[in-house]
Symmetry: C2
Subunit: 459 residues, 2 copies
């Protein structure tokens, strides 16, 4: 039977598939840092070339930022039209000294837990997007063609707020619209249960700069008399959460829905082991809202995190300076129908209201996206769940995701398409951290999973 | 009369004195940054060579850190023995982009307020220490000798906590002991009134690192569930002052004396224009303890300042990281008999007591020195005050100083000597800030002031 042949082909071709992935991982396509613009371009070129070998009409499409990669197959074919989305850009690598190897010199490593692909982007998202392309490669090798009409849509700005994404989707709506979007940028639940994400948190990024004195001052000459902007910033940040872990920005929770009894029951059924989840990163106690379960804290509740803070002297030794400025990068994870723009205004008003005399604040907006709710009614969901259950031998589940994958919501908003989020990452992949990895098992069974899903959706 | 001849010589030689200072300012002797160790050495060599031209037996004396410069003249002469102290090291220059010129390419600039010497170290302390050497140079040119027995003691670690100073003073006590120490590292009161500082604040520097997760985390995957160390650090810093500006560390004020009625009356007589003092740096409201006068806030009250804070991502763009660590450099200005070591223990206990479960803290101690109280009973003070009044045409005053000049206290503690702090800096010299300058007037009249003081003290 043809599926078995495709799966067998995937198994025997795995070493070559790994070589192709390592080749892509060697390109340092960090989208948030302008210094790596040329490398983002090279990653896009690499993917265009690979897609052409699969029979796609593929091209690199310029944007004001990093290019998109768009590829089409079988535009005149009847039957289902599937779109696949992934992103080829990666997170920055600092602090570099915490990496055990250079992040863009990837390698297959033997570990007590099995073989892993080590390197920045191995899990987020180059390794995941290649699972789909490798499934197509195996299908094509067996059948001489691809299973149905396909559109591949790869982005290079996902880790930097996707500034070009919405305009590009709007300008190319007819070209991109398909029956369903398949997105591979998520993980297995608790590193073992195959999952389809149906709930995603949104994201709002803000950068604030508190200005005090008009220049750096000597803390001996002015200390005690002049207002210190680091002290002001610290008070504002300290006040963002109350003692129960609840966020204090007025109106912040207005659009936050309660979990449905049905979903609450499903999640309880997952028996989430939060002690292990926290223990993996050296923690033991849930630090969110006191009256919420750990899964709610990361899936269905909004957050406010300080992602970066800086001001004054941070070099060797000591400098008795009373600095002119203090800065912070702060992000909010959004749920339900929280409006990123309304939250931004509420946050800015909250900060401004707390400024003492003699201080002023500058705001800089970074990415923003609403939360996403997938429609499990789409006829692709149940067959995909069955295919995943078959490959992994564990009942696949509908789950939430604490992270923000704005693209999922955009397909609905701008192209009126449902999106199905299926991924094979594990909790210990260390994405966005030093020593990122992707299990060879995730990669291998991920490819096999897509082969099974395509078999069911292509008819 | 010989003093007039010396003063005339100072006036005519001023252009050459300025050239000598610019030459010294070109050496980037930043003591806190190991990268500049060789330059600190060069500055010491430059001073040894210059002191030899003045007839001193001068030498560079190695220490575990940067070298000391020690020079002697007339060791067998009867009569008074004066010691002069200054420091040849300078503050770091960051943020470099805020300088109008390269900080170590000094120049004489014409400004609406008069001619200034622009460059790092021009005021703190190279320009000030050279006022004394230039006064000696003029005296020697007129008399063929120096006015009395002299010892010059120049340090290269004043801006980095003076780690080698106490051991050096202890090991060389007999060599360094004199009748009085003259220290030129302070300023004119309100940029116009010549002043002798009789009260100095001490300093305690602490660096703290809050550890949370054992690695940087993805704020989507863990945000809301994992404790963020930046949030913990911000709460601790925000809690260091209460709403009245009072420091909350238990026992912090135990050794803080009230100002004597006599000194309080003197300070009221100075009619300090704090509105102008704050206005010069873009501020308007005293931010210290609500019930204290502005002069108390900077001269006789202790402080707690955050000199630096950093953690997470501070680069271009945005990174949704939940960081493993957050750091701050915090310093305390001390008064009265506050014990730096007792305050350090109280601060560390205070921080540790506020750590939530799952967080730990590392402490690193930086410089520490007690507050200093000069003895105006020493017979050098009144003649010096008269000489200053004569040169400046304004009654010289005994004042306090918010900064920490540990050396003043060390002379009393380790050599049983009184110290007299006389300096000519101005409030707008921007020491420790970008675009540091020293008025040519400060330099010129400073040299003349020392000539008058030496005339009175050498007899």
């Amino acid at each position: 039977m043809s599926l078995d042949a495709v799966l067998a082909r995937i198994d025997t071709d795995l070493p070559h598939a790994l070589d192709r992935l390592l080749d892509l991982l060697r390109i340092p396509s960090i989208s948030t840092d302008p210094a790596f613009k040329g490398d983002c371009d090279r990653a896009a070129d690499w993917l265009v070339a690979d897609l052409k070998t699969l029979g796609f009409d593929a091209s690199k499409r310029e944007t004001p930022g990093h290019p998109m990669v768009v590829a089409h197959y079988g535009t005149d074919l009847p039957g289902p039209h599937l779109l696949f989305y992934g992103h080829y850009d990666v997170q920055p690598v600092d602090p570099l000294n915490l990496w055990d190897r250079y992040p863009f010199d990837p390698q297959i490593e033997e570990t007590p837990a099995g073989r892993v692909i080590r390197g920045r982007g191995s899990s987020d998202d180059k390794g995941q997007l290649m699972t789909f392309l490798e499934a197509l490669r195996a299908y094509r090798a067996e059948h001489g063609r691809l299973p149905c009409r396909l559109t591949i849509f790869l982005e290079g700005e996902e880790e930097s707020g996707s500034p070009s994404l919405i305009p590009f989707m709007q300008d190319n709506a007819d070209e991109l619209r398909a029956d369903v979007a398949l997105i591979c940028d998520t993980g297995l639940f608790e590193s073992k249960t195959p999952a389809i994400v149906t709930m995603l948190r949104g994201l709002l990024g803000e950068e604030i700069t508190i200005h005090g004195p008009n220049k750096d001052l000597h803390s001996g000459m002015y200390g005690g008399l002049a207002m210190n902007p680091i002290r002001v910033l610290s008070r504002i940040i300290a006040g963002l959460h109350d003692d129960t872990g609840r966020i204090t920005v007025p109106g912040f929770y207005d659009q936050v829905p309660e979990l449905s009894d049905d979903m609450r029951a499903q999640w309880q059924g997952l028996a989430f082991d939060h002690a292990r989840f926290l223990g993996d990163v050296g923690l033991s106690v849930p630090a969110g809202e006191a009256d919420r379960t750990p899964l709610e804290m990361i899936w269905s509740r909004p957050t406010c995190e300080v992602n970066g803070i800086w001001g004054g002297y941070a070099g060797d030794g000591f400098k008795t300076v009373l600095p002119a400025m203090a800065h912070a990068k702060i992000s909010f994870r959004l749920v339900g129908t929280q409006d990123p723009f309304a939250i931004r205004e509420a946050f800015r008003a909250y900060v401004t209201a707390q400024l003492p005399v003699d201080c002023r604040v500058d705001f800089k907006g970074h990415g923003n996206s609403p939360a996403g709710q997938m429609s499990v009614a789409n006829k692709a969901f149940e067959p995909a769940r069955a295919a995943l259950t078959e490959e992994w031998g564990i009942a696949a589940a509908y789950v939430g995701c604490g992270g923000s994958i704005p693209i999922a919501g955009y397909f609905k908003t701008y192209l009126d398409m449902d999106a199905m989020l299926i991924g094979f990452g594990k909790d210990d992949d260390q994405i966005h951290s030093p020593n990122e990895k992707y299990d060879v098992q995730s990669f291998h069974k991920g490819i096999r999973s897509w082969a099974r899903i395509l078999e069911r959706l292509a008819v």
